[in-house]
Amino acid sequence: MKREGWFAPYVSSYFWRFLLIVLLGALTIFSASSLMYTSGFLISKASIPPENILMIYVPIVGVRAFGTSRAVIHYVERLVGHDTILRILSKMRQRLYRILEPQALFLSSRFRTGDILGMLADDIEYLQNVYLRTVFPAVIALILYAAAVIAIGTFDVRFAVLVGLYILVLVAVLPLVSLLLTQKRQREIKQERNRLYQKLTDAVLGMSDWMISGRQGQFVETYEADERAVARTDAALRRWARLRMFLGQTVIGIGVVSMIWWAGGEFAQGAIPGTLIAAFALVVFPVADAFLPISEAIEKIPQYRNSLERLASVEERPTELAAGGEKAGNTSYEGDSKLAEADGVDGGDSALSKAGGADGGESGSANLEQSEAGGVVGSDSSRAASDLSVANGQEGHSAHISLHNASYRYGEAGEWSVRDLALDIPQGAKIAIIGRSGAGKSTLLKMIQGAIAPTAGAVTINGRDAASYGDRIPSIISVLNQRPHLFDTTVANNIRLGDPDASEEDIAKAGALAKLGDLIACLPAGYDTRVREAGQRFSGGERQRIALARILLQNTPVVLLDEPTVGLDPRTERELLSTIFAAMEDKTLIWVTHHLVGAERMDEVIFMENGRVEMRGTHAELMASEPRYRRLYELDRPGYAAQRATSAN
């Protein structure tokens, strides 16, 4: 799917509406022009003796009709236009979502913050201007261009050619020159502004550091210098825009004079009645209104390109990921993209069905078809899915996770993120994983989730490759990470995401297990209180508890805890952990942690470094045998040694 992928498909699927909009747009200008045309005709006609009101009855009706119709048609045009565009935006959003959805687990590592996601959403909003500001006006102008030349052509072909040339200057020459002249500057401005945005964001985030450094004046100075540079480029653009406007108006002025000269000549030769001189002269102004804005519309094109490119880049990445995955083995992502392509062939709704193809196996029969198209991976995944549903039905919730010397690296020559990791996690086991950033913890988690397949060795759940479970993983493994997202809806709805069929009672039960009771009691509408954007209403610890209730409802045999207590103060951390441990009694817990609080509750503590296991064992074993572990534990629990000493006495 290339660049036009965000543009062309919508033209074909909304062809009739587009046609309607463009016709209405042309009619708007036509009414305005006709008003002036008939008015000119009317008063000329009225001035010819013998004066008789009946002679001008028809033009009077025409003037009144055109006078009122323009506003009505324009109103309808704008409504239809916006409605159509909003429909398209809705489809674009859906499409962007479906492109991003398979990459969900990799988004945070690909993009620095959630901001890029906001930017993509803005890009889509911005694309509505492609239609409203550029495409529609341009097409309308072309229609009127043709109409004007043909209308004059019926009187005089040679003059029609001249008018054609005048208008050509307005709709093609000026816009193209404009595009050529401004393209580079516009790009510069855009880039420079992005840089300024980055620079300023950094500086505001680091404001205290700037203040302490005493150099804030210096920062403002350099920032303003950059702004001045942008302003200079912008001023040059604006100068050109003004000049262009003036040139356009000059063409129109010359056009009016030419029109008078021609109409006068024709009248003198008796080719046209005198009443048309005024009509022709006056019609030029309103018609020109359709052509003047074209330069600006065309000039905007480079601005859309940025948005389109960003959207396209999001689309391209999955293939990259999939390519990486291919080397590593077969991932569900590769399967998805293949499915999507295979599905797209039978056309129809083109873009949407392409995206829609990535839907994975929702229903049994669709699943079978897709798995054939998708090759080995697809069939694997559907088999796993059906196996799993059987397994779920028969033996309830149980998952045995094994890592057999699993290794992973990104790309062929990359560093090993995880190396020869052997780990056996039977149902109900509780292990803690600790290590610095970059030690391979998140890679390990992704392998267990089946998001990436090991480059060497195997990661299995109940004897089957974890990667082959594909979209069924959430019924086996749930995740509580550092910043679980709370959606801008009620607390109850947020919890219900864990199980859409949950009743009010189930939610309250999960809430009670997560010790939400006191918090809920304080809320104005209990569980039906809205959490506000990103859960702003709540503190970090409270957000984690709501997220905890959610995964309790999800009720999976395995729970991954990915540093859920970072940023919480010790008391909140302890309380949250004790709630988690109490609620997860029978479940497998795989807990990536940055502190050792609670390590004694684990069956095994694993220290990772550079992708390898550095130390492992139970808390007691490590305390006994590893001085390094003792030292770190002491750091987390100061006074522990002293207390032990006193209690030993």
């Binding site: 009225a46 859906q94 959805e101 959403a121 406007m245 000059t250 990103a534 004694e600 750091l635 006074g639």
Partner: protein, 632 residues
Amino acid sequence: MDRNLLGYKGVRPVFLAVGFLTLVQSLSILLLATSLAEVISALFAGNPLKEQWGTALLFLLAFLVRHACGLLMSSISYRFAEKTGSAMRREMMDRLFRLGPRMAGDQGTGTLVTLVLEGVTKFRTYLELIIPRMVGMAVTPALLLVYVYTQDRMSGIILTLTMPIIIVFMILIGMTARKQMDRQLESYRTLSNHFVDSLRGLETLKFLGRSKDHSEAITEVSDRYRSATMRTLRVAFLSSFALDFFTMLSVASVAVSLGLRLVNGEMTLVTGLMILILAPEYFLPVRLVGADFHATLDGKEAGEAMKSIIDRETVKAVALEHSAPSSSEAVAGDEGRPEDLSGEEDTAYASSAAGKPGTNPSGGGNATGASGPDVSALPDSVFAWTDSSSLSLQGIGIRHEEDGPSSLEEISLQFTGTGTIGIIGESGAGKSTLIDVLAGFLHPSQGSIKINGYGVSALTDDTWRRQTSYIPQRPYIFSGTLADNVRFYYPEASLDAVAGAVAAAGLSPLADSLPDGLNEMIGGGGRSLSGGQEQRVALARALLSSRPIMLLDEPTAHLDIETEYELKETMLPLFEGKLVFLATHRLHWMSDMDVIIVMKQGRVAEVGTHQELLERKGTYYELVEAQLEGIH
């Protein structure tokens, strides 16, 4: 329309110039209408083409003058808008960096950045449009109307009557649309944010296995959003409909009435044509105002938002009377009195550690703070910190909003010379607020401060800040080389000195592993650092500047325990010979501190050494005990 408008610098000449040009423009419109009408009616009367060239050229000339005036006007107002916008941004930036991080946090980084970048652009557009539009509205229709009246009263009356109708309708419809918007604002906001919210929560949805199904929710909400938007637009577009409708109707009525009077022979064709040409021109200024209404409204609001930041008070530290009042009244700027401190200044200067970079007490101390005479009267040496300096806080309180809860209350503490001071407490206890007061980011709303024997109202002074280095949880790593980042406080430092600081902060392994070593780009545009490395960069910064006071705000809580351990090992020896304030909830730091301040609910609960506090069995003891209990 805007009271502020006349207050901007250099706005009067712009108004004059634009007014003059508008006048010329209106006259040229009259000229082009009459000349065009004359040419047409002459041709219509059968006069030969040749004789009309003069008038035709006159028309063309008038037409070009009219648009040249437009060009000049937009050029003049653009230049004015650009200058005013830049000045305003400049002022706002200066103010922002004086108001400090608290205010930035309250407003939200994103909002501020958008305001600076996009708000200024919008504001500029507003300034650029508003002046010609206002003048155009005032001059052109009036002038044209007067002329039309002299030619034909009937047309004049029609045109006069239409204008108030248009304006009344536009206002009515605008109000209705606004009311409707307000009514569904909340649901509107939720709907419009839904998509971004979904994208941000995509990972969570995936974990929950709900991500596939959610795409249907997106479609559904998008459609609901569309219906809601269309409901609003149906009303909103009505205002431009009314504008269109009444102007067109008015032009049509003028044309018909002209026609009728021509038939009756009450008028000449040339007058009729001229009035017909003038009628749309009469409405043009109103239509332009209508078309730019939203742009100007946005810009005006952006301008007001910027102004509210610029007008925000920055309270400078002021000298208090020598016998510092112990009352808890904050002393207003004009009450502080300059004191003759010259004698003491000398001694203080002599004992200050001369030669230390960044601590030079006369180094342009109040560069940004020349706002009041009191401030300049405070000798810089007041804030200079030496081994024998002393600082005492007396009844310090911080209240962010009036009637709001205090984040600090009745803090009275004393510090002298060097030493390590741990500030501990649970989150919300006021640790960071205390650090902000000590760092000079916050002006206390109550209490007073005595430094080196002088009473001051706050530490918000550049000279004081230049005594301190600051290590927050997430130090600011800007886009630049590693060396430049380390040199942040002290840009003149040599590369050798940088290398020394880098080594002392334990960054050498990182520097060695980078292809370009110290010159490797880090931060936004380059390599990103881990949390531990960021802390070490901040540490190297602090070392290089050799400032006598170090402030650390929760430096290690977000790190994994091994990194934390190593960082602590690096940091502790570097605290030697400095006055160090370390705020944290990690208890292990405390046994290495000379003094511990235990904070609880905005107050100081206890002060003492680790051992003393344990023996007291107070708040600190409880914290330690709770930690030891482990998890049940």
